[in-house]
Symmetry: C2
Subunit: 141 residues, 2 copies
């Protein structure tokens, strides 16, 4: 039995919730409400490698995170994406996008992570406020 | 009861399979094996707007498409994404990516759809060959 170890690049992000399957991480980027779901299953890089039961749970947790972001931040659109080019450990992005956000209509990944589209941290006290709002919404969703 | 009508921008793409929930469209871009799943449910733009049953089916069909692409084209990584910035009708991209493909490690959407990352059509006879290979794999998966 291999133990699940969170990838160190993901582990730098604060935990917003711990659900049945996934740990929900918060991304410190004030441009978008953005969480990352990481199923706590060792050695998985693709959704299809999960058991059928875990696939269903990942879907319901993705939906729960989407509803929480919608409720708390009223985005125009939700993005859901599993890419894994930089961090192979399976993780699913759930991001609230606005038609007037600085990257719209492009995706937030890839070129969007480099200049001139680098992340914009919340700073203090925005970070704690956003994380608190998100945690409450994840709990309620 | 509203009837489902496939968005006209999606309808330009050839149908690779018709599954219980989703129509599977083939993207004519020889850089990557790429399909788009469109659940035949009217007036839905977000996964969370589907019923619980349809959400579960969408997950299992996404996994089936991923396995078919993996089996037929042996990519290094599968991308799964639901964005909907340009075409709001709910659709899920499933794309096989290679570490040496021309866009890696960036996502294929957004800036990747514009020059210098514009699509590269298969041409003749590559298009029919790729579509045939994909259809067989989707059937078998």
């Amino acid at each position: 039995m291999t133990e699940f170890i969170l990838d160190e690049r993901l582990a730098r992000r604060p935990v917003a919730a711990d659900w049945a399957l996934s740990t929900v991480l918060f991304v410190d980027d004030s441009r978008f409400p953005w969480v990352i779901l990481v199923p706590r299953v060792p050695n998985v890089t693709e959704i299809y490698e999960l058991t059928d039961g875990d696939q269903a749970t990942l879907m319901s947790e993705t939906v729960r995170a989407s509803r929480a972001i919608k409720a708390a931040f009223s985005p125009d659109k939700i993005n859901v994406g599993a890419l894994g080019h930089h961090v192979p450990q399976l993780h699913v992005h759930v991001i609230g996008r606005g038609r007037s956000d600085p990257v719209w209509p492009d995706p937030v990944w890839g070129p969007g992570e480099r200049e001139p589209h680098a992340p914009v941290p919340y700073g203090d006290p925005g970070f704690e406020e956003a994380l608190g709002k998100l945690r409450a919404a994840l709990e309620a969703a």
